[in-house]
Amino acid sequence: MSSELLFSTIAIFLLAALVPIGMVATTIFGPRSSKEKIKNEAYESGIKNVLGGVDQKFSVKFYLIAILFLIFDIEAVFMYPWAVNVRELSWFGLTEMVVFILLLLTGLIYILRKGVLNWR
């Protein structure tokens, strides 16, 4: 590995490690908070018991929207490295990417036809 790459890799890892180190350090060195019973209960606008119980099922449409977002977000993420190296990958890379997008496009047409994106 070249020295710049090595340096930047180590820098990124150290910065990322700063987050959990910071959290642990403030827990050890910082002030304690009280452990009252009410404080640790769920906030329900001031009411004691969560209406319907905490284990009630959410509607499936929330899950669907979240999953669909995830899929199309990852698709966008995968397109970034290709976009950076589009010249080196030339025609081969283009056809690969078009196939990838077409597969996900059929998925999109399916969910549109099924009416999943209609929020009601």
Binding site: E44, G46, K48, L51, K57, S59, K61, R120
Partner: protein, 570 residues
Amino acid sequence: MKDTTLTQLQEAFPSATCTQVIDTAVLDVQPNDLTTTLTALKEAFGCDLLLDVTGIDYLTYPKPPQKERFRVVYTLRNWRDNLVVQVRTGVSNPEIGLPTASSIWESANWGERECWDQYGINFSGHPDLRRILNHVQFKGHPLRKDYPVDKRQILMESDSLEAPLKSRLASKNIAREAMTELGTDVMFLNIGPAHPATHGAIRFAVALDGETILANIVEIGYLHRGFEKLAETHTYNQVIPLTDRLNYCSSMMNNIAYVKAIEKFAAIEITERAQFMRVVLGEFYRILDHLVCLAAAGVDVGGLTNYWYLYDEKEAAYDFISKLCGGRLMSTATRIGGMYHDFHEGWEKEMEFHLAAIEKGAGDSQGLMEKNRILQDRMQNVCRFSPEQAISFGLTGPNLRSCGVPFDLRKDAPYYNYDSFDFDIPIGSNGDVYDRFMIRYEEIKQSIRIIRQAMKMIPGGPVNVNDSQVHLPKKAQVYTKIEGLANHFKMVFEGVHVPKGEWYDGYEAANGELGFHFVSDGSGTPYKCKVRPPCFYTLGAFPAMVEGNMIADAIVNLSCLNIIGGELDR
């Protein structure tokens, strides 16, 4: 009221006793005839607006008019023909009580709940007879005369509302089995009293399918401060600061409504100048109330700039009010027989300056909000309410007019020379949230018109009646003459003596018809003072408005209904 109405009523209900109190027709019926009388009044006499349901406890009344201890009064209005009818019946045993009227008018639902909560009168057949203003662990009925005013009861834990919500959901026949097949179920959510969007202390429990509201229960009473019980221990003029705090955004309108009702019954004719003052200040406060509603509604949709912008005008108006009344928010500026103070020097110029600023500010705000695509998508065709539903639920004021019903007390039952002013009543066409929002801009414009006309027409002269039994005598009289001193002493200690009787009077406040129903025993303190709050019945209609819409729509609807906690819970 037409002269023939009383004879028509007597012919239609031969077993009832028909009398007239100020301009209200009063029918005394037997409990067996109550439902038939009410139904006939609605169908044959067009009284499709049930204004109020209340009870009276005659335990400590000197020479009570009936032998039963309790009486229930239904106040009805025929808004087309300007007819107010009060149907009264005695209740011999409050445990048995009366048959419910909630199948005739939807507004009877909450009215009778309050009557049960405060007096303990049962209504058989009522779909949901629970406490509404007092908390769930409260024992007793506070407005009964044998309940001491300072007997406090602590609530240890709030009601969970699960049972009433589930029963309302069941009554809607939602097919829960179909939902569980899909792997989901109805979700319950509590939009609690400590919430920024509830504008005070209102609590909802909703049953949701995703984000769509299937069933909705509204819980109020978190700001119930016992206005009615306190009014029974204060003199008539001492109650005026308590009325300030009813609809605290437009406090003087409550003052005016209160003293207007007393002056009407006691036949006290206030001076012309006082009448015009009350018109000018009443309309000014109407503008302020609408400004607050528009600002808060904008915040709920996400348009915070509108809030900062409109609040500028409101702060400027506070300068005028604090010069006149001494306080920014609470005015306490009316007294029986007139006003506390006359206008200060140079008030016309200041008022014109404020009106011009409000015109510009509200005009700018309307320009920003009216054609805003986001606002239109959020508010148009959302929570639509038909005129028939609105009347049945007892809505009045801008909320009723936005549904398309052209009812305004200032035009239909004018008082204080309103019939000599030239102004229009804006009416909505769709009954959706957009109409409820936009109608307030138009009402601001009309109120400005009225104020300008009134400022031109206001005469000089005294502001208070020159009657020592009604209004405090001048200080020079009090300190030099014995009659002045005696009158002052009696009036402060005993209060203004209002003749014995019971009456109702309505006033067009910023939110709707603000009515006061009094029972007087001839002394200087009211025996009973019931407020007919416009917000109370509006919020009773709220579940019917939002079921089928999404939570975000419900929040926007709530903010455009302008629910003020002080008036709702009293």
